[in-house]
Symmetry: C2
Subunit: 167 residues, 2 copies
């Protein structure tokens, strides 16, 4: 019986033990699954982006800027859209600016705000990197279109619950 020698799913194993002591084993299993899924997606995309000197976070920032109407956004707006902390925006923009993919510009009316503008080099690397990201399929190659939408929809319920997005 070689098949029986294969290791068990560690998450199912943890759930089995959890259920013997505490309530909410299904919740624990789902939470652990989400943590693990994030690692898989992150590793897959970071691997695809490595040749371009980008991380997932910096790549997302470039895509956001490229999508924006004027090719520039205030730092705070970026953090809002990317759902990251203001200090993380500072860090990301520092590095992208060092790589020549974005530049900081002063806002004409409000001297508190700093606009971040994508450069031609930034658009170029973003275009090339996107090919690699699409090719790696975000590490989600084994899900069908329907399963992808199901996953997105389930997580939207979580995000609605957290108050992040309206129902």
């Amino acid at each position: 019986m070689v098949g029986r020698l294969l290791p068990l799913d560690p998450i199912e194993e943890a759930r089995r033990q959890w259920d013997q002591r505490w309530p909410g084993g299904a919740t624990m299993a789902a939470a652990t699954s989400i943590m693990r899924a994030q690692q898989i997606v992150q590793a897959s995309v970071d691997e695809a982006l490595k040749p371009y000197g980008l991380t997932f976070a910096r790549y997302e920032a470039l895509v956001l800027l490229a999508f924006s109407q004027r090719g520039s956004l205030p730092m705070g707006k970026m953090g809002e859209r990317l759902m990251i902390h203001p200090t993380s925006v500072t860090n990301i923009v520092d590095r992208l600016e060092g790589q020549g993919f974005v530049r900081r510009r002063p806002h004409e009316r409000d001297r508190r705000t700093t606009l971040v503008e994508i450069t031609d080099a930034g658009r170029e690397v973003m275009d090339e990197a996107t090919g690699a990201v699409v090719a790696c399929r975000f590490g989600l190659d084994f899900l069908s279109e329907a399963q992808l939408d199901q996953l997105t929809s389930l997580i939207r319920a979580v995000r609605v619950g957290s108050g992040e997005v309206p129902a």
Copy 2:
């Protein structure tokens, strides 16, 4: 935390723009959703664990040790089960040891191996902390039992695809 109410769902907005240029918008939306879900779970659990001086990562390590037969495991085995880098295990055990929740012990046969053993204080704080974690429901309060299982099952397909777990 970054949680704020936004006028539109930024993920749906990004998907709309993505679909105008590149293939795989559903994959991008699912990947982004997973990244965001992880942040929500992490923030929720870290918040619940703060009064006990624990992070999610350290809490998971304590639970793993408490679940183990002898209450102790080699460092490498911990990293394997928790799916984290060996240096992260060193870091986590350093801090847990500093808090008095675990202790390092030499392996009797293999002097390369370091066993990590949970202490009485470790079991105690783990028990109390688990109450808080169960109460916060891992930030997944708005999902039904069926939805939780659906989520776990979908992500299991991802994990199978990544080769982490057998079909």
